[in-house]
Amino acid sequence: MLTDITIGQYFPAPSLLHRLDPRMKLILTVLWIAMVFVPKNWFGLLLAVAFLVLCIALSGLPGRLIFKSIRPILPLILFTSILNIFYVSGGRLLFSWWIFKVHTGGLITAAFIGIRIICLIIGSSLLTYTTSPTALTDALERLLSPLKVLHLQVHELAMMMTIALRFIPTLIEETDKIMSAQKARGADFESGGLMKRVKAMIPILIPLFVSAFRRAYELATAMECRCYQGGEGRTRMKQLHLARRDYLSLAVSLAVLALLIVMNILIDPVL
């Protein structure tokens, strides 16, 4: 079913990660990306993975959920890894057949890249799992607000994102309903060739567009009725405050990053 999609889904739980300030979580995610790409040796990578495991433990999310977030991109990971096995030369030649040559270097790079991508995805899905979409866009708006100087419509962008995110589940539900209704009239989405399948989507897409436009008009009217005029002079119901735990988590992350850099200097890179 369509409802099985978990990307960007929020899972409420009473954990430390959930309670962190969303702005800090965004910054930490950026730091995490650095942490994934800095290590050039196995020990560094191991430290990064250990840090990730700690974060997962602190998030209080079930392990199944974490696995679910990487499942859709597993083919991509496999593809890049396999490509790397054959492309990267260096190290000892292990195996050679026709134009395919496998070096130890290729194997190591493949493993390294695979682990990096998995870490990257899990890390960023931790952000979306533990932060509600509204909190996330709120944080984004605050973090980008210095760009107002450049006349960037930060509030409008954030509002658009909020609305888009807000309507994803609604539209998924709507799609499910329309699919059921058309199935009840004998529509068949599962069999036939490519053209037939594309054609079979028409009875879903047209009603979906009609309803999306209807919802958009209704929402616009409702917003105007409440005198919405954009970000100018707007105050907030939920004020964000940085707490001690936010500074602490930043300090820990920076320390890990610093340690990773030191390890890079002290330990020889794998390649």
Partner: protein, 289 residues
């Protein structure tokens, strides 16, 4: 004869997830040939989940659904045929219209059944007539119709498949009183003519009292009551405890009975109320013109 039957039907949404929620719990009921059964219950009581099992849109977690004594999931490949035999009109069915003419939209179901063009044409005309859509509307775009007309187009789309069982999920929701009367009347006429078994999910007790033979009351994913309409409405106190109501006229007459003014007669529809009121006034010596 029992047309459609469920045996120990259970269903759970998102099993194993934080949002896990049991929607049906051990439902075993049967629907008789030609009867109109109204399904009532609170939002979230499992009505919609139940009806979606009856035409195979949802697959039971455990238990069976039997159509004429045969398990509808006996051959999963055959489930499309089951959907033609058990027609389902969803809530706000006008949101599913997509073709460029009303005629083509009604023909979508019959065409999926693989019928001949003449047969399709005939069925479309017949179904359109049943729901009172004039021939001039058939060539129009469904998006140019009024709300009530759109709704009737969508209902005609299912009727045109000539299902043995017709399920309607709140067919009168959001319509004006006239549109609502019209649709109920058409459904009633349709089933009397074709002997179709009809299931009607509804929130309106007035509608239910007017056309239902039997009433199925759902509460907390279980069957709370399943009996003829008068017998269910007799249990007004229980219904009210569940947060459901009985028709307004029934309430008035039961209060009159409590005060010792009227007999505790079964009064469920406006027509019955009129008769009962006239009889009561005559009894008191008031002349009624």
């Amino acid at each position: 004869m029992t047309v459609l039957q469920t045996e120990n039907l259970c269903y759970t949404y998102s099993p194993g997830m934080p949002f896990e929620h049991t929607a049906l719990h051990d439902i075993s009921i049967g629907f008789e040939q030609g009867e109109l059964t109204a399904i009532i219950g609170h939002t979230g009581s499992g009505k919609s989940t139940l009806v979606q099992h009856l035409n195979g849109l949802l697959k039971p977690a455990s238990g069976r659904v039997l159509l004429n004594g045969e398990d509808i999931w006996a051959d999963p490949k055959n489930i499309r045929n089951i959907r033609f035999r058990v027609g389902m009109v969803f809530q706000y069915p006008e949101h599913q219209l997509f073709e460029d003419t009303v005629e083509k939209d009604i023909a979508f179901g019959p065409r999926n059944m693989g019928l001949s063009e003449e047969e399709i044409d005939q069925r479309v005309k017949e179904a359109a007539e049943f729901v009172g859509l004039s021939a001039s509307l058939l060539k129009k775009s469904p998006f140019d119709l009024s709300g009530g007309e759109k709704r009737r187009t969508a209902i005609a789309g299912v009727m045109a498949m000539r299902p043995e069982v017709l399920i309607l999920d709140e067919p009168t929701a959001g319509l004006d009183p006239h549109g609502r009367d019209l649709i109920l009347e058409q459904i009633d006429r349709y089933r009397r003519k074709n002997g179709t078994t009809v299931l009607l999910v509804s929130h309106s007790m007035e509608d239910v009292a007017r056309i239902a033979d039997k009433v199925l009351v759902m509460q907390h994913s279980r069957v709370a009551m399943y009996d003829t309409a008068p017998r269910v409405f007799d249990r007004a106190a229980e219904l009210e405890e569940m947060g459901l109501s009985v028709p307004a006229v029934t309430r008035i007459f039961s209060q009159l009975a409590d005060k010792g003014i009227a007999d505790h007669d079964a009064v469920y529809t406006l027509e019955q109320a009129e008769q009962a009121a006239v009889a009561l006034l005559k009894e008191k010596g008031v002349t009624v013109c």
